[in-house]
Amino acid sequence: MLRDRKQEYLTALILVGPFILIYGALFVWPTIQMVLLSFTKAPLIGAGDWVGWDNYVKILSQKLFHSAFWNTAWFVVLTVIPNTLISLAIALAVNRLNGWLQGFVLACFFLPYILPVSVVFLTWNWIIDVQYGLAQGVVALFNGGEPKSLTRTIPLFMPTVAFVTVWWTMGFNILLFIAGLRNISPEIYEAAQLDSAGRWRQFMRITWPLVWPVTVLVLTIQLIAQLKIFDQVYLFSIGGRQDATITLVQYIYKLAFQQNKGGEAATAAVLLFGMIIVLSVLQYQLLRARGEK
């Protein structure tokens, strides 16, 4: 029996070993290092002096951090809410369709989601191009016929990138909503039809309450994902005024790779990390509170 136990431990070690190696070296250690680094004044590569909370005080009072924070928050608002509402509407529409039509329509919405971000960037950059872009026709409607660069005009930058992001990522949310809608038993609708409830009433009384858990899931997944935004914003702001449209991860990138301030970059990373943990815990509480109801 004792030999069996020993053997089991050995097997476990062999199976878990690679995981421990990978996660230890590339997750646990970097996380510890990140926190330690945030208390030092260090270049990106190399040792630095311990400065206590100095970096935190400095960053929290820095204007650029504030604009990074508010830009990120603005981006989150611009993407999460429209994305959720549009995805739900599309999921409802797609769910009504049958057969190959449903597959085709779903593929149209989902295909963008699996494309690399740079493909999305190149495609949309071409569409909104000042000189030859297709979208200039639309821009002209609002702008008195003048062509306009949507990504170099600061107030239009975030809405434009948010629009592209919604187009790019909504396939994911549509899918989750469809899964949620299919979970609703058709018998409930049968019963509602017998009670001669109209479409709108059916939606408000049956669909909406039953699809609410998925909505919470979709909202929180997006919220956390958009806080970490980098790729699109970086790509669309190449050559533009990066500071005006900076987001939190770009701020970390700027400190570390453009200004060689490893310590301060780590501090900013810890702050982002903190925000995401707070949101994750809130999400957990929200989901649990709902589960108990």
Binding site: E8, F27, L37, P116, L122, L217, I252, I276
Partner: protein
């Protein structure tokens, strides 16, 4: 639960209510609107493809015709001859495939141990995996960069691969499925004095083949599409991956959209093909990884032609 997984009576009810519904005007209008919006959503992809096969003159003439006057593949020939796209392709293929294999193998082993074995530190490891969900990998870029620089791994395949091996969701999904395998299978195998490795590779993995296929595909797509880390880790043109490399495609005259669209099409092609072949698996994997309830084992067990082909090779 999706349509396939609905119980017989429910499906029958759904079918009946669908057929009984009169062909009303509202329904037709709604369907038409849905179809239009879907086509509008697909349009940017179409536009990129169409632009890539137009002659340069037509692209910048501003005519914006929806169909090219003449199909030419000059843009593709140009990027093939004038950029390192072939090397970027090799880099992307190698790194994405290695990431996929390593993630799947290490996660399956770890999940089996967590699910079926009793050993000290088991709970701690599970908590660690859950914690991994919360830590944004984007926050760790600085430390990953320092680590890779210390080991002189920047601008190498290993440097691009290593930080991308952290995919906690694969372990969690595997563990859930391994937990739900009936204990009798394991006990019976134990009677035949099969070791844990044999049980894992001959019973647990083949039984969950659908899960493996779904997770593998989604890991591959994720690795192929990754931008931030490969962008930091590969600064030389020779080590870039496709998504990073194509942002470098420029011309002596500046931005030439025909060529840019050709590179975009080439970069998106592998994932688009993977998606079109494995459509159902990709969507299942997404639902699994988001933790949506109702993606059942039954659901994943209906093998596609690809699964049947590969299952034959691995079946006990």
């Amino acid at each position: 639960m999706s349509a396939e997984a609905l119980s017989g009576s429910q499906a029958a009810v759904a079918e009946r209510s669908r057929r009984d519904r009169p062909l009303d005007l509202v329904g037709i209008v709604l369907t038409a609107i849905t179809l239009l919006v879907a086509l509008a959503s697909f349009f940017p992809i179409y536009w990129a493809i169409i632009t890539s096969v137009k002659p340069d003159g037509e692209v910048i003439s501003g005519s914006n015709s929806l169909w090219p006057g003449r199909f030419v593949f000059d843009s593709y020939i140009h990027i093939w001859n004038n950029t390192n796209i072939a090397i970027w392709y090799v880099n992307s293929m190698v790194t994405s495939l290695v990431i996929t294999v390593l993630v799947i193998v290490s996660s399956a082993g770890c999940a089996y141990a967590l699910s079926q074995l009793d050993f000290p530190g088991r709970r701690l490891i599970y908590v660690l995996i859950l914690a991994c969900f919360m830590v944004p990998m984007q926050a760790l870029i600085v430390n990953h960069f320092v680590l890779m620089a210390q080991f002189k791994l920047l601008n190498t395949w290993a440097g691009i691969i290593l930080p991308q091996l952290i995919v906690p969701v694969v372990i969690i999904v595997y563990k859930q499925f391994f937990d739900s395998v009936p204990k009798e299978f394991r006990e019976a195998a134990m009677m035949d004095s099969a070791g844990h490795f044999k049980i894992l590779f001959r019973i647990y993995l083949p039984m969950n083949w659908g899960v493996t296929a779904a997770l593998g595909i989604i890991t591959f797509i994720g690795a192929w599409n990754a931008f931030l880390w490969p962008f930091l880790a590969a600064t030389g043109e020779a080590t870039m991956t496709v998504p990073v490399g194509i942002t470098q495609v420029k011309d002596a005259y500046g931005i030439v959209y025909g060529k840019l669209m050709a590179s975009a099409v080439v970069a998106g092609l592998p994932v688009a093909i993977v998606y079109l072949i494995f459509q159902r698996r990709v969507t299942q994997a997404i639902m699994l990884s988001a933790g949506v309830k109702g993606v059942t084992r039954r659901h994943l067990d209906t093998p596609s032609w690809f699964d049947r082909l590969t299952m034959r090779a691995t079946a006990p």
